[in-house]
Amino acid sequence: MKKKTMTVALTVALASAVALTGCGSNNAGSSENAGNTNTGGNAPANSSTNTGGGSAEKVTLKMMHLWPAGSSKQQNMIVNDIINEYQTANPNVTIKQEILENEQYKNKLKVLSASNDLPDIGMTWAAGFLTPYVKGSLFAPLDDVLGDGLKDSFVSGTTEAYAVDGKTYALPLELNITPVYYNKAIFAKYNLEVPQTYADFQKVVDTLQSNGVAPIALGNKDRWTGSLWYMYLADRLGGPETLKNAINRTGSFEDPALVKAAEEAQALVDKNAFNKGFNGLSNDEGKSEFMNGKAAMYLMGTWELPNFTTNETIPQEFRDSVGFFKFPTIEGGKGDIDSWVGGPGVGLFVAENSKVKEEAKKFVKFFVEKWGEQSVTKAGVIPATKVDTSKVDLPQMYIDILNELGKASNITLFADVQMSPAVAQVHLNSIQALFGKQVTPADYAKAHEEALAQEAGK
């Protein structure tokens, strides 16, 4: 009988262990906080003593971010440095971090907002991701933080991506633009020059194609990759406003320039400009065509820069042979060559119902400034704040990109980020169909127009 009780006890213990591991896994990430006094996991965020303002009072700020020491080592280090610096300067402030991986982070943010329990400071993405949170009054407007000169330190157009109805709800940390990378060795082999106009570009494609080299590496299973090509064509043909207006409903997606851009995209497919089977390949598979030297060009965000400069796991010879050029202008089109497709990555928000909002805002301001000084040199991440290239020691390609950013005339936010999630799915599927030649350019535009109109009508 005694043995039996033991078995029962063990069974119950096992069952509860199974049940608990499901809830417990998240805490593993959060307990690796460096330099924190509190290791109590998910204790309530806000300190009890605070009544707002008094600088000598103890304040605890809870911050949630998505750079674990394991997968984003450099970023994680910078965050800890900034926090330590702030805590030293403000001894009454304690900052508690909770760190989660990207997907887990998104899920947790959602769960916390449903229970109205967001951390004081957290990370968000721009536009389409941000909007529902703003509509639910979960994020605090940060225009007062931007007020005293901080706004000027941001690259123009970056904070706007986090604005809803004229108010800014987060301050961006990362900024990416998308140049066309090319393999100098392949270009030299076929005596090709960097194309200045779209006609030159088409000649480059033809030459490469007739020599059996895949001109452009593309993995369009992920769909936003093809969207980049479409967006540039739309920008160079119709100017930056046409696509923006079509999405924000002051214009139409059946604008001739947007239909023409779809035609040009299909013309590239007809020329066999992209590697074979691109619609079934992921971005990583597409990228490997470029990294293996099988394809000559690759249109991608500046987050790839480490792979072409500092990443030691990639052969030096290949890294040296990569250059970039700006997407060429199209004759008769309205776009100019200094207009980019790109956008800010994550930004910091302050929770609307945080009890320590003012302290949180102060820290966000401090964080953004410090981050801007360190992120590109220490982590290779281009910050959304302007970088003085004369003062930093960086690989030449970074310097060139940063200089291009300085004179950018416009940055058009990635289309699928501009749109609401549901419309973005229509856009992404249509892109795949367009590049797979399953729809005509006219039907492609019509599908967008219908989805956008339906969304606006809601």
């Binding site: 029962v8 529902p132 795949q432």
Partner: protein
């Protein structure tokens, strides 16, 4: 010991952990899914009760019915492939040399995780470096077949690994069932002059009929709610050409953030599976055969 097992309280105590798990992880979520299906909900803001609007939208959603068609096509393929599995199991259960080894070989795909299988087949189907296209090229075939990018063949290309993945599982079930048939029956038939085919069709298959029914249900229902390989290999693409009901549900809920509609699809999928299971049981309803 017997005393313990007949004590009602003791039984309840033993059942409790499993019951709690099943309730918390299966039945409660099913009820919640049904409830969310009646809501308009983006996963963040407040829910809004909209009655059966999600379901009326579902009935008119051609993208959903296309994904349902794909799922039923997969179910048909899986059901038909059962015949092949049964044939292989019949051969293996006969006294052929190396049956044991072969059985293990067939089981290997079953032991691999779905994601590993997906990665393996992604390499096989790769348009330029893949095994199949390289083989075709070496045979002098000039064009490139874009297995996962061509909307006309992507569905077939993705069915093959799915069928391959589950082959070992069903062969094992049939094999075990066939091995359970008393050898005396088979020997008696042989003495009466039955040839191997007759033994298979008249003796063995009727005897494992109940197992066959179970495998049909497993194969069809499993296909209807199939998700993993499709998610990893094509993500339902290109442009929905390989979308099945489960992946469509996932895309609606977790990509378009339409949790209400996603839940409605999930609940509808459950209903379809229940109806199909019931139908199969009805259609295959027959007397249990026993020779003794």
């Amino acid at each position: 010991m017997d005393k313990v097992m007949s004590n009602k309280k003791m039984i309840a105590l033993y059942v409790l952990p499993a019951l709690a798990l099943v309730l918390a992880l299966i039945y409660v979520p099913i009820v919640l899914t049904g409830y969310y299906g009646l809501m308009k909900w983006d996963g963040i803001g407040a829910m809004e009760f909209i009655g059966l609007d999600n379901y009326s939208r579902l009935v008119q959603d051609s993208a959903f019915w296309q994904s349902a068609y794909h799922a039923f096509l997969l179910a048909a393929f899986s059901a038909l492939s059962l015949i092949a599995y049964l044939a292989i199991a019949l051969v293996l259960s006969g006294e052929i040399k190396g049956a044991n080894l072969l059985r293990k070989i067939y089981l290997i795909p079953m032991l691999l995780s779905s994601v590993a299988i997906a990665q393996l087949w992604l390499k096989i189907y790769h348009p330029t470096n893949g095994v199949i296209n390289s083989l075709l090229a070496s045979l002098g075939f000039t064009g490139t077949i874009e297995w996962l990018a061509d909307t006309k063949i992507v569905l077939l290309a993705i069915f093959i690994p799915i069928i391959w993945q589950y082959a070992g599982f069903y062969i094992l079930i049939y094999y075990a069932a066939l091995k359970n048939i008393p050898t005396s029956l088979v020997e008696a038939a042989r003495i009466d002059g039955a040839n191997p085919l007759q033994i298979a069709f008249r003796v063995k298959i009727p005897l494992i009929l109940s197992v066959t029914k179970v495998t049909i249900v497993l194969a069809i229902v499993g296909s209807l709610k199939y998700f993993d390989l499709i998610y990893v290999m094509t993500d339902g693409g290109p442009n929905g050409a390989s979308e099945v009901m489960a992946s469509y549900m996932y895309h609606q809920a977790f990509r378009s953030f339409d949790f209400g509609y996603g839940s409605a699809i999930g609940f509808f999928l459950l209903l379809i599976c229940l109806v199909v299971t019931w139908l199969i049981r009805k259609l295959t309803d027959s007397e249990e055969i026993q020779y003794s």
